[in-house]
Amino acid sequence: MRRSPICLLLLLVLALAPTLSHARAHAHVRVSVQTPYLELRTGPGRGYPVFNVVPRGQSVEILFQRTNWLKVRTPRGVEGWASDRDMEQTTLSDGSTLDLHIGTRAGYTSHRFELGAFAGVWGGASLISTYGSLSFNSQLALEGSVGEFFGRYTNGVTADIGLSHVIVPQWRLSPFLMLGVGLVHTEPKATLVQPANRTEQTAYVGGGLRFYLTRSCFVRAEYKTHVVFTKLDRNEVEDEWKLGFGVFF
């Protein structure tokens, strides 16, 4: 019997769940409150009620962080959520202030990894794609993307790898250029005269804009022009437009 990949994924998720939940036993960072008091909420959000306050001078243990909230424990064993803004005013044992490295504009300018997802158009067909990038410095990054397009006459999959160059990384709205190579696998629909699937090499250049939104999130819009090296006498040119979200780490 052929097992579906989703079944296997499900099993993997169920198998991993206890491991993931147990992976949190490690030494916690302890900080002391410097402001008149530190508010603790019942959940990681500004909408959750404040149920406890920690007075100045008392220490709290940081258990873990979720988005811009930190779960902390007081010496009396009370656990609650404090905002990153409040926590950045606490100090470590050596007197230095806590630096959380939660996504900021500085992180947007210079970071190591990016992940993102797009919706768009590839050669006239609707496209969904994801990408990941590894930055060498604040300007140059190696990027890889995979996408699937759904056309009226053809469906297909694309995969690209290349370099991207952010011209002025400090700008909030920042233009970039791209260059690379890839593969495109096209599956013409069966009603056409030539229903054979094809896999062809491509090369692309492109450019785009990215705009910092908040925390570690930005919007990214890009255009690529692909030259598809076909087995026919002439090469084809396909345009790709897409818009999506990215996060950096």
Partner: protein, 244 residues
């Protein structure tokens, strides 16, 4: 065509030249720093190793050896728990093909307390259309083509955060969410671009565990039954996820 290819090559050259200069400059500066640091370390090592013999006459031994160990400033390492992975089970109503069980996996990344990005992969098996049922031995689709496989990438928004109370002693954080995304659906021997919208309610019995009850609509255009039309495929699921 030639012009396009030439444009590709010219842009390639420009693109490589621009970051190349920046990278080489950065690399050269870095190398210079590394060289300086190594020279310093070597000088220190030579000073420390040299005995009080004749060779050490040039560099006198330090009068006072500092006994204070240099303190290294380290950024606090705090475990983050912004990703969520899990599975869902439920019922999907595949338009014209009846309601059937569905199951799948989800992966989400929480960007802020309000917004999250989510990827989902699911599957169901479609039944028979009323035409097939009434028509006797007619088969519109093969068994393989009845597999309804969908995936989507989307953005979600949490709203109305609150708490759900279990008796007098237990409270669990909860919130409603809406989400919208795009994806693909493989069904009836074809793949279709799909838009999905949905919403639901979720509670977190533990900090790392979420349980959600959600409804989603997967919309796509199809001409499977002759005429081109937009189909709505509504899904109601119970899902559970683990934060990590």
């Amino acid at each position: 065509m030639e012009t396009r290819v030439r444009r590709v090559l010219l842009t390639a050259a420009a693109l490589l030249a621009l970051p190349g200069c920046a990278t080489i400059q950065h690399w050269r500066n870095h190398r210079a720093e590394v060289r300086a640091a190594r020279a310093e370390v070597r000088a220190e090592a030579a000073q420390a190793q040299s005995p009080d013999g004749a060779s050490s006459t040039e560099i006198p031994p330090p009068a006072v050896r500092p006994e204070v160990e240099r303190r290294r400033a380290r950024a606090a390492k705090i475990k983050s728990s912004n990703f969520e992975i899990g599975a869902h089970f439920g019922v999907i109503s595949i338009e014209d093909f009846g309601s059937h069980p569905t199951y799948g996996v989800d992966l989400a990344y929480h960007v802020t307390e309000d917004f999250f990005l989510r990827a989902e992969l699911g599957r169901a098996t479609a039944g028979r259309t009323s035409f097939e049922t009434l028509g006797g031995n007619i088969q519109l689709l093969t068994e393989g083509e009845r597999k309804f496989t969908y995936y989507d990438l989307g953005v979600g928004y949490n709203f109305l955060p609150g708490e759900a109370f279990l008796g007098r002693r237990h409270a669990m954080t909860s919130s409603f969410y809406v989400l919208a995304g795009v994806g693909g659906t493989q069904f009836g021997g074809d793949k279709k671009f799909t838009v999905n919208v949905g919403g639901g309610y979720q509670i977190l019995p533990l900090d790392w565990l979420a349980v959600r009850l959600g409804v989603e609509d997967h919309l796509f255009q199809t001409n499977l039954l002759g005429a081109e039309k937009l189909t709505n495929n509504l899904e109601a699921v119970l899902g559970t996820t683990v934060f990590f």
